[in-house]
Assembly symmetry: C2
Homo-oligomer: 225 residues x 2
DNA sequence: GTCTATATACTGATAGAC
DNA sequence: GTCTATCAGTATATAGAC
């Protein structure tokens, strides 16, 4: 279970403190973030307690607060790690296919293999709709940039005739993100009946494809379902 | 703000207790449910406190617990009311159009006019993904029946040639619900930029329509955007 | 039916020893 | 850097007066 920290980047600035003695601290912080990810994923941010995180990370609650001076600092670190993971997956998928849309299938597969990340994202994005929530702005910005990213890409596809002519790029961008978000919720309620990667691919085929009914980006990944 | 109780049905069984003295109790319960809806919508179920609900309903916390013996009883009453409202809207929309799909547009409009209901649904459906959450089963059943409802309808439309031939009824049903759920989240983050009713109509046109590009159900409501 | 008062438990955060 | 001990605040729920 606490395996989320194995590929954590050094979030503490290693440049200013080259001393070897602090390497243990960085590992500690990573372990704490991994524990916090699990706790907040399972209980949400409001109900998730620092004591639970501390217990799971193997230190006292006061010890935890030495590394992260407040609960808000901790959740921000967790979100930074979560976002970095997502970006990493999308970038890796974009290396061969070069299509941001095909990367969504890879992201769905990645999420499906990491339920805790889905739980965290679903519960936290819902909690943070309250304007005074500590990470409200984080998610607001995230949606803004995500919609704009896809809108721009779909606009280019429309210019190339690769988008259904009756599909508005801005609306389609929003729909795409909304669909993926909602799908994660359904998946959490019934993981055996919902295959997110398959649904995403079908959705893209139906919604995006102009004339051709084949895979969206021409990416070399036709065999999976 | 506390205007959600004006069209509350009598959830307390008025048939068994015809006495006039208890009418005040029913009204009290309705007021409490309305207050709880607001509190849980704004703060979520976990963080929303009975004290807040009691204050808003104009009685003490102990007095509140006389009517609803526990927090779980209260949230169940709130959900029952919420579901009843949604069913009412869908049924009313189905009376003239007779198309469940067109009713979704009406539902989106209704939700847009009642932000508290959207906040409640979004935050609670996310919270309740945890299997041990008090209302987990409620939402699990809700998704099951909703998917089955739309799947059956889309299957009939497919038989009539009214569904894109490359769209699978079961997948499309899931996608439709996922899209609407995700859209509500985005709307909560940016209410001025997102028009749920418009997006739902566009989505239906693109995803469902077989050949005709016109409105899905032929309902007499072409002028809105 | 509603109240005050309280029991019991847990929260995030702090102080200071080591 | 980690600990124990403790803070002040808040939570749900109960007991008993009126």
């Amino acid at each position: 279970m606490p395996s989320g920290a194995r590929n954590l980047p050094a979030m503490t600035s290693t440049a200013t403190r080259p001393r070897g003695e602090y390497a243990k601290t960085a590992a500690r912080r990573d372990a704490i973030v991994a524990a916090a990810l699990e706790v907040f994923a399972a209980s949400g941010y409001a109900k998730g307690s620092l004591r639970d995180v501390a217990d799971r990370a193997g230190l006292s609650q006061a010890g935890l607060l030495h590394h992260f001076p407040s609960k808000v600092h901790l959740i921000e670190a967790v979100l930074a790690w979560h976002d970095e993971q997502s970006v990493r997956v999308v970038r890796a998928a974009g290396r061969d296919g070069a299509d941001p849309l095909a990367a969504l299938v890879a992201l769905a597969e990645h999420n499906q293999a990491n339920p805790a990340m889905v739980e965290l994202y679903v519960s936290l994005s819902a909690e943070a709709t309250s304007p005074d929530h500590p990470v409200h702005e984080h998610f607001r910005r995230r949606y803004d940039t995500a919609v704009e990213l896809f809108r721009a890409h779909l606009g280019r596809q429309a210019d190339s005739g690769l988008l259904r002519p009756d599909a508005d790029p801005a609306s389609t961008a929003r729909s795409l993100i909304a669909f993926m978000d909602g799908l994660q919720v359904q998946w959490l309620y019934d993981r055996s009946s919902v295959d997110m990667a398959v649904e995403v691919r079908r959705f893209l085929d139906v919604l995006i494809a102009a004339r051709a009914v084949g895979p969206v980006g021409g990416s070399p990944e036709p065999a999976d379902d």
